[in-house]
């Protein structure tokens, strides 16, 4: 794992100054505290801040091929590097190190047209081809590792994090209003957009070629949700194959020259990873967990159950309201984007504890809910389709009470249910049938934008932009698969793996590894029939079947608890952090210019009262506060 940064001249220019590259690396020291390395010539500068995990001695970057015509820096891991290296050596390539990085230069030489497809890993790569005079910037399929770039007339800068680009005096940080509109709808930006004007991200599954002053973006992989006709016919067979694939994925992800631990929330996904890893680990596995004081969020009893059952050594961090509040500004410094939830903050505290325990690598369960159908939004869409078949039924909408128990408690709630969930009910052919309600609801956060920002994005429709990016075959997929696709490409890549994943881990030099996102596991899982993923309202049935003889009964069959963290109680009350009042003050809101001071004051007042605050209002609160913090960070 590392951070990478660099510069390329787009026209004939001055030789690249290595001091700039070192300055860029300094800003992302947390990603790679072990050593820096820089290569420069007349056209290009490549830099690496390295977190040593594989080949601790000779794996220093940048690394070149035999005749120094290809150079690479990369952030991430190539898990199948041993197998790739063996093939490449058989074809005559000579290796100087034992690192996975070196595989990249030889693989690129050997298979320039499809080298990225051979990689089983998580990566952001910058590769310089001297003969072609081309720089290639590439990201893994799911976007586990970040990679940003910005181009001026004469040069292009790239880096693992946006803050590194700001180390160049020519790059101004300015939050992009269109990005705000996207975040206040989807929780993340779409595609290549970052939170800042003129700063782009290489999209997951893509690579950019920078050559002769031009930047061309290419896709090398597309998530294909087409039903696989060759998958096992029975649930038991599918479960067995999934378990084997996951075990093998974990086998590869235990490849490391430093110890590997595991995150454990107490849910099915992390318990699965923990159980399968402990079967293979050479020493007693160590897990790391989060505990909350509020029972609404806490899963401690489930963590204890899994740890005891599997005989695991565990460390738990107690994330108090004060801890979350104190960490939040640092969290935003690392997410580099406004966010709508506080859930990344406990992950930030967790990685700190992992670091303090001298671990650099953890396995983690992200991706299972997307590829195997674990989220309530999939259930919600199924129930609404069920209701839409008999829209006048009084009975059918009551099934929503299974998902949202509060709906059954008051008359108000029942009326809310009818009005809210019945919107667009019968339009079951809608491309965004599964998500439109949620996104429209989240987009109410935009009511807090200032008149100027509203005017700038007037007429902009985030959903229309998303619709344009959908693959041609999207409408041929099953409804369940369509919903999964949206969760993977928008929520998983844009938010979970980024703001809650890479950024929170790397803040404390901790690398997350994602066994559910092994390409083989993904391909197998998404190709399964929908009823292997969700039967009735029972989620992830194939995974539950796969793990029922390995995990405790109650872990496999417990009601899924979404990972969340408190919001209002963190920012308001007796121990409200000082930055909250300051950043939400009318003066500061007006200074920043993104939000409507009067509306924000109203929201603050409401949050300070004893009355009920809606989920959307809580999202708006976090969105406003994080945007304010982000803005003041760069301005100062």
């Amino acid at each position: 794992m590392c951070g990478i940064a660099g510069k390329i001249n787009l026209r004939q220019g001055q030789p690249i100054n290595s001091k700039l590259i070192y300055r860029m690396l300094d800003t992302i020291h947390h990603r790679g505290p072990d050593e820096n390395g820089v290569y420069t010539n007349n056209q290009i500068g490549l830099g690496s801040a390295r977190l040593s995990i594989i080949d601790l001695v000779s794996g220093k970057q940048p690394i070149s091929n035999e005749d120094n015509t290809i150079w690479v820096v990369f952030n991430g891991e190539i898990y199948n590097y041993i197998e790739l290296r063996s093939d490449l050596e058989a074809k005559g390539h000579v290796f100087r190190t034992q690192s996975d990085t070196e595989v990249l230069v030889h693989l690129y030489e050997e298979r320039p047209s499809d080298w990225l497809l051979q990689l089983n890993g998580q990566f952001a790569i910058a590769l310089w081809d001297q003969r072609e005079q081309a720089l290639i910037l590439a990201r893994d399929r799911m976007g586990i590792r970040p990679l940003y770039y910005t181009a001026k007339d004469n040069y292009l800068l790239f880096a693992s994090e946006v803050k590194s680009l700001f180390a160049h005096p020519g790059i101004e940080p300015e939050i992009d209003p269109t990005s705000l509109a996207q975040i206040f709808t989807f929780w993340s930006t779409l595609g290549s957009r970052s939170s800042f004007r003129n700063i782009r991200s290489v999209p997951p599954g893509h690579f950019a070629v920078i050559k002769k002053g031009k930047i061309i973006i290419n896709r090398y992989w597309q998530l294909d949700m087409t039903l696989n006709r060759d998958v096992p016919k029975s649930l038991d067979e599918a479960a067995e194959e999934l378990r084997w694939l996951l075990s093998d994925s974990i086998r590869l992800r235990l490849r490391s020259d430093v110890p590997v631990g595991s995150y454990l929330s107490g849910g099915l996904d992390s318990s699965t990873i923990t159980a399968l890893a402990s079967q293979q680990a050479k020493t007693r596995l160590k897990t790391f967990s989060i505990a909350f004081g509020d029972k609404l969020f806490d899963e401690t009893q489930h963590q204890i159950r899994t740890n005891e059952y599997l005989d695991i050594d565990n460390r738990t961090i107690h994330a108090t309201l004060e801890d979350i509040g104190a960490a939040f500004p640092q969290v935003i410094a690392h997410t580099e984007t406004p966010i709508l939830r506080t859930a990344p903050a406990p992950m930030f505290l967790l990685s700190k504890m992992v670091h303090e325990n001298d671990f650099k690598v953890v396995l983690t369960g992200e991706g299972a809910d997307e590829i195997l159908g674990g989220y309530d939004i999939f259930k919600e869409a199924k129930i609404r389709r069920f209701w839409a078949r008999q829209p006048d039924s009084e009975l059918r909408p009551r099934l929503l009470e299974r998902l949202y128990p509060y709906l059954s408690t008051t008359t108000f709630s029942k009326a809310y249910l009818k009005n809210f969930f019945k919107k667009n009910l019968e339009n079951t052919n809608d491309t965004f049938y599964s998500h439109r309600l949620r996104w429209q609801n989240t987009a109410r956060c935009m009511n807090f934008l200032s008149p100027e920002i509203k005017s700038e994005i007037k007429g902009y429709d985030p959903l229309a932009e998303l619709a344009e990016t959908l693959p041609a075959e999207f409408n041929n997929w099953e409804a369940f698969a369509q919903a999964q696709y949206l969760e993977v490409t928008v929520f998983l890549s844009g938010y979970l793996l980024s703001s809650q994943g890479d950024r929170m881990g790397m803040a404390h030099s901790v690398e997350g590894r994602y066994p559910f996102l092994d390409p083989r596991v993904v391909d197998f899982s998404v190709g399964l029939p929908a009823n292997f993923k969700m039967s009735g309202l029972r989620e992830k049935v194939v995974l539950k079947r796969a793990m029922r003889d390995i995990l405790p009964y109650e872990t496999v069959n417990r009601h899924k608890q979404p990972y969340r963290a408190p919001i209002r109680s963190v920012f308001f009350g007796k121990k409200s952090p000082a930055y909250v009042k300051e950043n939400l003050s009318p003066k500061k809101i007006d200074e920043t210019g993104y939000f409507n001071a009067k509306a924000v004051s109203g929201l603050s007042k409401k949050c300070n009262s004893t009355g009920r605050v809606s989920e959307t209002e809580e999202m708006a609160l976090v969105g406003i506060l994080s945007a304010q913090l982000l803005n003041s960070m760069w301005r100062s």
Binding site: R389, Q390, L395, S535, G536, L537, R538
Partner: protein, 82 residues
Amino acid sequence: MPKIENEIRQFLVENFILGDEVDKMGFDESLLENGVIDSTGVLEVVFFVEDKFQIEIDTEEVLPENFDTINRLAAYIRRKQE
């Protein structure tokens, strides 16, 4: 036991019954009287049956003679599939 009956039993076991009670559930036992499902639970069964067996169920058909035991439900599904 034929496939439909087993599919229904599997669904009920995984969704409504905990622990030792699994073994006690017979194919002709009343789901309501034995407390296996409640009123919203019946709805969940309707939801499952529509989803799994690709049929549509009218509210008027959600009656004990169609839904109260596994065998009755399986027979009902077969009639609807004809």
